[in-house]
């Protein structure tokens, strides 16, 4: 019996005891081939999935390394069947290769004839292929480079794409490191991407993914297309690029609902790209408008399906995906793998936090006991009205106001789902409210005022969830909002996780009505946050009110 820090479970999860003296080196050994799933305080859970194994293969690790790592660090014997399964799964990557072909442009070749024959029999693959090139190869229509990779992955034989990239139109871009420096992990991430050709960089919110994008552009030295989630985010990219790189105003274009500029560096929103008129995508020409040398996908985990289809045709361009998580709610992780590329860089949140790059967060759930009348009203409410009712009770508002009063000197963000509740809170707290109908200009003005500490409290609706940058928010109070998805939660938390000038900790409150469906959603939230490794505690609203 060795005394390793790792325990291998029968469902292919790995449990890592973090306080073990060998935990650090073990984490380094298993991180390439196992996805961190949960990171609560004592035992972290990693999962070995085929995609994770293929990511490891793409990063140059072989099955022997994986098996050795498991055996070396495992406390108990590793089931032989699991090791065999790992070796077999890993051996599947790279049996098929996409390579350049002098005559046909692109060819699918294999060292294993049986595998080639197997995939050639697939009805979905056949139409993508051209003529047979000897026993071990077959021509592929260059335009089907993305599709074939998708189908091959579905068949369980992910192809290694060695067909290379076009250089694209050259354009000089340099980082201007005046008063700031590329952080070590940012440089590593950009280099890892560049060596891999294409792929995804996984970094937590607030870790400076935009800068990784800028560094990638500086590597590519070519025209770049940046795809982002929305207009606000597009504006932030633009500002960051102006600040961090040698690019000037004239070199950066915005392609959105209001502007249609195409410049050496163009920032487009997913929304405009997926707008259809009479059933056709109107803005596809953007992809062909220039000979792009690099395509950057912001928030890859949110990439909508049409963009995937468009990306399938862009396989000859270098692509980098930036994201906080590879987990997609729609389960299309495989498409990210085959179309954008394998994971090239990954750093766990908790460690970034320890290094001081992101602020430690304290999560507090405040349980509000409803008054007797409220409980009666809740019990009588229609099923579809129940959540709205318990999420917006006056008791909650009182507690929220008390919480805001607790932090008189800090930037406070109040987040909610229901507009009337937010309006009411805004009125009571004497704070501006940002909601869907707020104009972009007005939004940006308020954000800037908040950043400049002219406003201390800001009330925002769901619209603020994505890709806005509020560097000085030290406290976030969530008053309503279903636990929609893990990403939404990650985003929300990301709002307050930016490192603050004073290095102080961030605080994330959620106000929850006791014994209602609100509490059920809170249970999901609690699990997610605890799994992410954040300190979590539950307090009673009475204690908050009593502290007044």
């Amino acid at each position: 019996m060795t005394d390793g820090p790792l325990i291998v479970q029968s469902d292919k999860t790995l449990l890592l005891e973090v306080d073990h003296e060998m935990a650090g080196e073990c984490r380094k050994a298993i991180a390439p081939f196992a996805e961190l799933e949960r990171a609560p305080e004592h035992v972290h859970t990693y999962r070995i999935t085929p995609l994770a194994l293929w990511n490891a293969r793409a990063a140059g690790h072989d099955a022997e390394q994986v098996v050795d790592a498991l055996i070396a660090y495992s406390r108990y014997p590793v089931p032989h069947a699991l090791l065999v399964d790992i070796a077999e799964t890993m051996a599947r990557y790279g049996r098929l290769r996409l390579e350049k072909h002098p005559v046909h442009g692109l060819a699918l070749t294999s060292t294993d004839r049986a595998v080639l024959e197997e995939v050639l029999r697939s009805k979905k693959i056949q139409p993508l292929l051209g003529e047979r090139l000897g026993a071990d190869g077959v021509a592929v229509h260059p335009s089907e480079r993305g599709n074939i990779k998708q189908y091959l992955l579905k068949l369980g034989w992910p192809a290694e794409d060695l067909a290379g990239y076009v250089d694209g139109e050259a354009h000089p871009i340099a980082l201007t490191e005046d008063g700031w420096q590329l952080r070590t992990y940012q440089r590593e991430a950009a280099e890892a991407f560049w060596h891999g050709g294409s792929g995804v960089v996984v970094l937590p919110c607030g870790a400076g993914k935009t800068i990784v994008g800028a560094a990638a552009m500086a590597q590519a030295q070519s025209t770049t297309l940046i795809l982002v989630t929305n207009t606000v985010s597009a504006h932030q990219w633009r500002q960051e690029l102006l600040k961090r790189t040698s690019l000037t105003e004239d070199e950066i274009g915005e392609y959105s609902g209001t502007k249609k500029e195409i410049r050496p560096v163009t920032i487009a929103t997913y929304q405009v790209m997926t707008t259809r008129r009479q059933g056709a995508y109107r803005h596809l020409e953007l992809f062909d408008a220039r000979d792009w040398g690099l395509v950057i996908y912001d928030e890859v985990h949110l990439l909508p399906a049409p963009i995937f289809r468009m990306t399938a045709d862009l396989q000859a361009r270098r692509r980098v995906g930036l994201t906080a998580t590879l987990v997609r709610e729609d389960g299309r992780e495989g498409d990210v793998f085959s179309l954008i590329g394998p994971k090239r860089y990954d750093a766990p949140w908790k460690e970034m936090e320890n290094q001081g790059w992101i602020a430690p967060a304290d999560c507090v759930e405040v349980r509000v006991t409803l008054t007797d009348e409220e409980r009666l009203a809740y019990a009588m409410a229609e099923a579809e009205e129940r959540y709205r009712f318990c999420a917006t009770t006056p008791s909650k508002s009182r507690v929220t106001e008390a919480l805001v009063r607790r932090h008189p000197d800090e930037q406070v963000l109040v987040i909610g789902q229901y507009i009337d509740q937010l309006d009411e809170l805004g009125e009571h707290l004497n704070a501006p409210v940002i909601k869907g109908e707020t104009k972009i200009k007005e939004r940006e003005r308020l954000f800037q005022a908040f950043r400049d500490k002219e406003i201390q409290v800001l009330v925002v609706s769901k619209v603020a969830n994505f890709s806005i940058d509020l560097p000085e928010a030290a406290v976030a109070i969530q008053v309503s909002g279903t636990f929609g998805s893990r990403q939404e939660e990650a985003q929300r938390l990301g709002r307050v996780l930016r490192p603050k000038a004073d290095g102080g900790g961030a605080r994330f409150y959620s106000v929850v009505s006791r014994d209602t469906v609100d509490q059920d959603f809170a249970a999901h939230r609690q699990r997610f946050l605890a799994e992410q490794g954040y300190a979590y505690q539950i307090i009673d609203a009475d204690d908050v009110l009593a502290g007044e």
Partner: protein
């Protein structure tokens, strides 16, 4: 019956006969009357077949060679013939092995005679149909040919200027055989035919010696023969044995084999190959698997305790139920099938007797559960090793295309236990530190037991290998210490591995049970290893298992905490237990959860009452409660105007009336009945079948049997006059004394005088030489009747020594 063989047996020493009885115990069960009987039994097809099945390829080749060559033959000629089958030159290993082999065959009575005249025992030729892949001799091949056709063949073979003597022989078949036995003639015939015909012959040369052609019986002459087959048929190089089958006569086959009977023969078994692995790691892996397997069986029984699947009308477990338990245990279906079958064969689960019964754990399970992991595993592993059921075929279809369900009666295969033991034996034979590949195990088995082959057997071997790994008998493909100890008669590993019982070897490899868990803020508890049974049971009650393996991950939620509270635990108690078994402080969200659930737990109370008394006038109810006569009614005041009662409504009404009140019955539909899930058990242990593994007879039994045969034989030979019975009555003696006296007589080989009630009830007395005693019967040579008889022990009235 060959008298030579009988004579040879008779000439064997007692010791040699004892050796024969020891290796072929079926020959002396029951004890034959004399050596002629023994010889007859030894040459019966079933007895010969059974012993031939046990021979390895080299030994079998010796027997085959002896049957192909004319008998008797000298040892020298045998050796010369065998040496030709070797790929290289005869080496000392071959010489000594051959010598030992012939001696062994003599011991087995498959070969008899002195070195200058060896012969296969009678019956061997008949059983060995087509030895070494050769066809039958020409005499047999052409047996059904009519005389004219034979004459034509002889004419064509003899050819122009052929021997004139051919037609003088009366038996044309033998004449033909003689011709084919002549090397020169066969050589000439083969040269005559076309190259295609020659290659057809070469196809058949090394067996199988028969082939299929249409219209095999066509009668063609050498001059008119067209196709290659016709050329061969017309020259008797092939003989038709059916409408569409032809066979290569043995003489022609031997010619084509260039005088060899076998090729590429090896006196030693083929070496196995496979990956080299660390033995310690293999031991640990197997121990881990043993632990997992044992736990899976327990998990299965626990699941079935609460929620048993039904027994199908055909007697098995529904596919649906198998899938369900496989999903619950998070195992592939074949492993789930294995677990179910082993648990059943071990008597841990059984069908509850009635029609439409359920599969339920038995009381045996309760006893098993209390034992240590190593003992539990040994019981399961032994059961697997000896059971005659084959879990591997679950999900396949039988010859009538019916699906084979788990626990179905048709899952039995008589060879299963024997194949398992043999296969593990092969793994044990691999050099230490090597995990032989399945192919090399198969190859080795084919050498060790060339006559026992076939797809079914190969499948059983494959099942054995994969199941052994699953159960933890092997680790990383190698037979490990505790697995080896399961097999009797296998020596311990050379080089250090301690010898001991399987349990003793396994125990130190098993993980030590822990009494602590990690509690985390995401409301999980991680047990980083197996837990003490007390803690495990408590966690199973108050948390849900989320993942298993080396560790167990439990998750607390509202429901699970409520379950613990329902089981009578208080919040303080739960928190104290958590605190005690956690190495770190209890996370705040977890303690909050416990107190929060406890806060709400039991605020509403629910009970059962059979009837109630309702009255708006609470003073009237005060009166009822105060009345002493209401005591037996077990009334309980729930509220000022309501009393609940355990008595039934009619009884309550009657009693209250008797007390002088005037109650009226009220229709009600609010009775609450709480059903509880019972943990159920079936009656008694099930019938456990395991195929009897015959480990041979004990030495003294063998000796006695041989003595009896000898004595019987002496009588048989001398046509001995039966002895006179001594005068007088045999004194009566108690049964125990009789039995011990008989046992002494068997051991010493002495004679005794007994009183016996024959089947008609007549009192007789006999002089016996007892041979063996079993199942209430005594087998003995009866001197007074000069024959071997069986005597019912309960009819022996007394016993005395012969004066």
């Amino acid at each position: 019956m060959s008298t030579e063989f009988t004579e040879w047996l008779r000439s064997r020493s007692d010791e040699q006969l004892r050796a024969l009885a020891a290796v072929r115990p079926e020959l002396v069960t029951p004890v034959p009357a004399h050596l002629e009987g023994l010889a007859g039994r030894a040459s019966s097809p079933s007895a010969v077949g059974r012993v031939l099945d046990r021979l390895d390829r080299f030994t079998l080749s010796v027997v085959e060679t002896l049957t192909v060559l004319p008998s008797p033959i000298s040892y020298g000629s045998l050796r010369a013939q065998m040496a030709r089958a070797l790929p290289g030159a005869a080496d000392p290993v071959f010489r000594s092995t051959l010598k030992e082999t012939v001696e062994r065959l003599r011991t087995l009575a498959l070969v008899y005679g002195p070195d200058n005249a060896l012969a296969p025992a009678p019956g061997v030729r008949e059983v060995l149909d087509g030895p070494a892949g050769l066809g039958p001799p020409a005499v047999e091949v052409f047996r059904h040919y009519h005389a004219e056709r034979l004459a034509e063949l002889i004419e064509d073979i003899a050819g122009e200027g052929g021997d004139a003597k051919s037609d003088t022989r009366s038996d044309t078949k033998e004449a033909l055989a003689d011709l084919l036995g002549d090397q020169k003639i066969v050589g000439r015939l083969i040269e005559d035919v076309s190259p295609q015909a020659r290659s057809a012959l070469n196809e058949l040369a090394w067996g199988p010696a028969s082939g299929r052609v249409p219209n095999a019986r066509r009668e063609v002459r050498a001059t008119t023969a067209q196709s290659p087959i016709e050329q061969l048929l017309s020259r008797a190089l092939l003989g038709a044995t059916g409408e569409e089958t032809v066979v290569l006569p043995r003489e022609v086959g031997l010619f084509l084999r260039d005088g060899r009977i076998h090729q590429d023969l090896s006196p030693v078994p083929p070496a196995m190959d496979g990956a080299r692995r660390d033995r310690k790691l293999a031991d640990r892996t197997a121990a881990g698997q043993a632990f997992t397997f044992t736990r899976a069986v327990e998990e299965l029984c626990e699941r079935w305790s609460a929620d048993p699947p039904g027994v199908l009308r055909s007697g098995g477990l529904a596919v649906r139920d198998l899938k369900r338990i496989a999903a619950l245990l998070d195992l592939p279906e074949w492993v789930a099938g294995l677990i179910i079958e082993v648990a059943h064969a071990a008597g841990l689960v059984a069908a509850s007797g009635a029609v439409d019964g359920d599969w339920l754990p038995t009381p045996v399970y309760d006893a098993w559960r209390m034992k240590g992991t190593e003992d539990r595993w040994v019981m399961l592993a032994m059961t697997w090793l000896t059971m005659d059921r084959v879990p591997g075929v679950i999900g396949e279809r039988d010859e009538r295309d019916r699906l084979l369900n788990a626990l179905h009666p048709d899952l039995r295969r008589s060879a299963a236990a024997e194949v398992r033991a043999t296969t593990l034996g092969m793994l044990a034979a691999a050099e230490p530190g090597m995990a032989p590949t399945l192919d090399s195990v198969r190859e080795r088995l084919a050498w060790e037991q060339p006559r026992r082959r076939g797809a079914h057997r190969d499948q059983l071997v494959e099942f054995t290998v994969r199941e052994a790994e699953q159960i933890g008998v092997t680790g990383l493909g190698m037979l490990v210490g505790h697995g080896r100890a399961l097999l009797p008669g296998l020596p311990g590993l050379p080089g250090g591995s301690r010898v001991g019982s399987p349990g003793e070897l396994l125990a130190p490899l098993l993980p030590e049970p822990l009494d602590h868990v990690f509690l985390q803020a995401d409301l999980t508890a991680v047990a980083p290893g197996p837990l003490t049974s007390e803690l495990r049971r408590w966690l199973a009650l108050s948390a849900e298992v989320e993942s298993t393996g080396g560790a167990t991950v439990y998750r607390f939620d509202e429901r699970s905490i409520r379950r613990a509270l329902d089981a009578g635990q208080g919040a303080d108690e739960i928190l104290a237990l958590l605190e005690r078994h956690s190495t770190t402080p209890v996370p705040q969200p977890l303690s909050y959860l416990v107190t929060d659930v406890a806060r709400r737990h039991g605020r509403m109370r629910i009970g059962t009452a059979s009837a109630y008394v309702r009255c708006d006038d609470s003073s009237l109810l005060d009166e009822v409660m105060a009345d002493k006569r209401s005591m037996p009614l077990r009334l309980r005041r729930l509220a000022p105007t309501v009393i609940a009662s355990k008595s039934s409504r009619p009884a309550l009404i009657d009693s209250l009336r008797a007390m002088g009140y005037a109650p009226a019955a009220e229709s009600l539909d609010g009775d609450v009945i709480i059903t509880q899930i019972d943990v159920r058990r079936t009656e008694g242990p099930p019938l456990v079948r395991s195929s009897a593994t015959f480990n041979g007879l004990e030495a003294d039994v063998v000796a006695a049997a041989i003595r009896a045969v000898r004595a019987g034989d002496a009588a048989h030979q001398a046509r001995r006059v039966p002895l006179d019975v001594p005068d007088g009555q045999v004194p009566r003696s108690p049964t125990t004394a009789t039995i011990s006296a008989l046992r002494d007589a068997i051991r010493q080989g002495s004679q005794v005088w007994i009183g016996y009630l024959d089947s008609q009830g007549n009192a007789t007395s006999r002089i016996l030489e007892p041979a063996r005693m079993e199942g209430g019967y005594l087998t003995a040579y009866d001197e007074t009747r000069a024959a071997v008889h069986r005597f019912a022990l309960h009819r022996i009235t007394g016993i005395a020594d012969i004066v």
